[in-house]
Symmetry: C2
Subunit: 576 residues, 2 copies
């Protein structure tokens, strides 16, 4: 069987930054060409960033994308790189709106495409057929589906092209790969990270390889984009599903591999298949080292996703750094540690804002953390700011409790307005689920690194991060006391979270059933939880929807994150 040298370019594009993304593509192509690649493939919408959401309905955006693709082909040729075929994802359009009839609405005018560049030109394009429209995806809203499989004849080998969801579902162009007798299936992806997704993705890629009797090359983008983090983890498997090469998660990488692919036969005509012939390169080339990354353990993967999500939100949006309240509790300690890993401690600013109810350990734990991590740190006591409100408005009870959180929010925003940092909010997923937070108080902030992390996982991550530091001979960043002490909002004397909430292990299990598994109360009850408690928790979750609607974005790491992954009415009166 002929050997083909495939290059999978795992890049980190920025949405809308056609110039910067193109420059990155050129760099990767140069590197791949120097290393003798026969074909270089980039991820889904590597040219435009992903997801572009309703930018897909702006004709000017689509025109810019199409022009950028042509300019990229010309640049590659001009720089002497035009003799390597390049597959790159981009949004194409504007096309005639898809819907017939009189629908009074914007309709899809774009396609989700992979362009093939060669010799200074766009020689072929493939349009995604299966458009995901569930979970975080709105592709049926934004795109017109394609209907034709693309097969590139590359010297002696046929390479079929598909995009992401095309291999997740049966039917469509990919079902023609076997009958088209392609030796390689090249899949262009923007597949966001979630826990245990590699348990689905890799078996899927292997299954498609076996089904189509082809090498499958799966290239994914990396990086954070608002509430999504793309993990890369690009992979190439042989016709039997054996891994030949695998890129690391969460970092840009050029994955090179020599594959032995079925030689192309005289192409028999298959309906719905477009064929394009490209000449093969005939370079002498050095042997490649084996490049098969190992996946780290689950907690490390989640940690890296959170670090990547935060770093890219901060850097892609041009913030000098981050600022947030440091309470000595576990949530803000973990956020501080994530932020330091993402940005370096110099760009992390923690503000301790003790109140009359703050315990001694809150202050000492916050001090300890700041010192361990080496972040910028300042204390602003809130008593003298809170008192005037209490005196003027005669506040007691909940109003007085929330006031303290809101005064802290005002302090953080004032610092941000004066110095330009992004304010982070540090509420975990469990709090967000049951509404255990003060809106416009501790929820103040433009990004929440642990938005999709339940409290029990916050603790696990803290322990893992400390262990990882110890294993490297470094100081564990998170004070042991922040991990072990009972959690408290400290908004009144002697308060602990468990005054209002069930134990976190129970609460997180119920929430996982309700939010992630979409179980009803009876199914959760059958798992062994008290019926009354389950009903109470569900009511809390349903009633907190209005708060979540105004919450900051944060990286999705679970199967069902709050936000566009889970769209629910605020006004909802079950049982009435």
């Amino acid at each position: 069987m002929p050997t083909v040298r495939l290059a999978l370019a795992q890049t980190n594009p920025v949405v809308g930054a056609f110039e910067g993304n193109s420059a990155s593509i050129v760099r990767f192509v140069r590197d791949a060409r120097e290393k003798g690649a026969d074909l270089v493939g980039f991820g889904e919408m590597a040219l435009s960033g992903y997801p572009i959401e309703d930018l897909a309905s702006r004709p000017a955006f689509l025109t810019a994308s199409r022009e950028a693709l042509h300019r990229l082909a010309e640049t590659l040729e001009a720089e002497g790189l035009g003799d390597v075929p390049v597959i790159v994802g981009y949004p194409d359009g504007p096309f005639e709106p898809r819907l017939s009839g009189t629908a009074n609405a914007p309709t899809a005018i774009a396609q989700n495409c992979a362009g093939v560049l060669f010799g200074g030109e766009v020689v072929a394009r493939y349009a995604k057929f299966h458009l995901p429209n569930y979970s975080v995806f709105d592709e049926y809203r934004n795109f017109i589906p394609g209907d034709e499989l693309l097969v590139l004849r590359l010297g002696e080998v046929d390479v079929a092209v598909a995009i992401c969801e095309d291999i997740w579902r049966d039917g469509g162009p990919v079902s023609r790969v076997s009958s088209a007798d392609a030796g390689v299936l090249f899949v262009v992806n923007a597949s966001p990270f979630e826990r245990d997704k590699d348990d689905l993705r890799l078996p899927l890629v292997r299954r498609r390889a076996v089904e189509t009797d082809a090498i499958v090359a799966y290239v994914n983008i990396v990086g954070g984009q608002d509430d999504l983090v793309f993990d890369g983890d690009s992979v190439v498997v042989d016709q039997g599903g054996v891994i030949l090469a695998r890129a690391p998660q969460f970092e840009e990488h050029l994955l090179l591999v020599d594959v032995e692919a079925e030689a192309a036969t005289e192409p028999h005509i298959v309906e719905g298949v477009r064929r394009v012939d490209l000449p093969a390169r005939a370079d002498d080339r050095a042997e490649l080292p084996r490049d098969v990354a190992e996946l780290p353990d689950d907690r490390e993967q989640v940690w890296n996703a959170l670090v990547t999500g935060l770093r890219d939100y901060v850097d892609k949006n041009g913030f000098p750094g981050v600022v947030f309240g440091l309470s000595g509790g576990i949530d803000s300690s973990v956020v501080a540690s994530i932020a330091a890993d993402a940005l370096g401690p110099d760009r992390v600013f923690g503000v301790s804002m003790p109140s009359r109810w703050s315990s001694d350990h809150s202050r000492s734990d916050a001090d300890d953390l700041a010192e361990r991590i080496g972040l910028r740190y300042r204390t602003e006591a809130i008593a003298s700011l809170v008192q005037p409100f209490e005196d003027q408005l005669h506040l007691t009870g909940l109003a007085a409790e929330n006031l303290q959180a809101r005064v802290r929010g005002v302090i953080l925003m004032a610092i941000s307005n004066a110095e330009g940092q992004l304010v982070l909010t540090t509420g975990n997923k469990t709090e967000l689920a049951v509404g255990y937070s003060t809106i416009y108080g501790d929820s103040v902030g433009g990004f929440n690194p642990i938005k999709d992390v339940p409290k029990t996982l916050v603790w696990e991550l803290a322990r893992w991060r400390n262990e990882a530091a110890e294993a490297r001979g470094e100081t564990p960043p998170i004070p042991e006391n922040s991990i072990t002490k009972p959690p408290s909002a400290e908004l009144r004397e002697g308060q602990t979270d468990q005054d209002s909430l069930p134990p976190y292990d129970v609460l997180d299990a119920i929430l996982d059933g309700f939010v992630s598994q979409k179980f009803g109360p009876e199914e959760i009850g059958e798992l062994g939880y008290d019926e009354q408690l389950v009903g109470d928790v569900i009511r809390l979750v349903d009633r907190a929807e209005w708060k979540r609607r105004q919450s900051a974005p944060g990286p999705k790491v679970s199967q069902t994150a709050f936000g566009r992954d889970r769209r629910l009415p605020i006004t909802y009166r079950p049982g009435t």
Copy 2:
């Protein structure tokens, strides 16, 4: 031609309140039966409320809906109302997920249905075929499409049933109405209000009547649901498109009309058509008065939409009333007037929060407004609350300006926490577009009645409301000075909005082009606006996405509202 008495029941359902919605349906059926109706039809999802969003993915919710439908049929029979066929919209399920393959995601398990109740049973169901998945709609995400037209033989007349989008697009079951020879097409709708939508909806209904040579009965729900307002405006047209009956907007109404429909022939078998036979009633019945509502003028329609949206958000969510900052400016004055119209002045609480920069007219205009409307009113000066922050944090410039707005937000939330009112935020659409607001400051609040109202329309509405009062011999609610004075945020000495923004008529025109029409900068420039200015405005809009993401919901009244109508990335770097 035989005469049929149709009843269109325009109800205001609450999402999830199966019991309350059913009780309302029973009341309307009783009324319709007493008035001799042969058939009573309700709106889309009148049983469950609409839109249910991802509640459609909860098996327990769907089971509750199906059970509620059967219980409703039994109740109608038990109360002696079972001899009138009733068409009622509801979500049905759970069904097997739609998607094949290995998609790692929740997939649609529901159908958007109309059930036909008769004799204590559910005798037929129709499932919506065309699923809107644009603008505010996510129905392809949430529902499995149907594929069969339903035709009810009602004595001598055939009645075809369709749901909403089914008539907005060509093809699908509705294209079989002619070949099935139905005399009546009964369309069950949940069609949200937007300006000038009646200019699309009515011509569409008329066109379908002419095309199918059938009476078209179009029944819509009314009421607010989060950011949507359903306007009713149910209508019946004859085979030539002439209006026979029309319900008023924004209120519950039973629209009764006698129509002369083509007699049914021996049914020829048409593929994709399900037929159900129902006996005709043979009541003696009194002649019906003509019931054809007139549509009010555009500004009144918008006003009524805003009033309805606010009232239903407040009442359906069980708030005792609303509270908000009253600045003497036009935005809060219009909100106060909307709130008083929606809830009565007793449930409206305005708080004047003057600062050192507040002009005399701000206070006197706020006083004047409060007196004119008769709302509850209180003054809380902010100087002594702001000063401690300034002293402790050494704030100047923007940080000091925003601080004032944030202190006001803290006051409003403290009052809300103490007394239970819903806090309203009063930023208009223009401010929201360009980010001219203080996040966690004047943006504090759970609902924004004028979220989708550009500044120029705010002024128009104020003038209209005053004129309407005068025409009724009432005191105009809004002080003339609030309408005519130059707008200012009053966050520093002598500030006016036009220090930072172009004149509002220019700004609103550019925003309409960019946001609603989705024009690019060149197309807007061709309308005669300065290229540099257009570019600046577009940049402001793109950069304010993060603020909008955390903004309160408010009623959609334009073609493109901010929120789920317009889904855009925060991280977006065009031109880089």
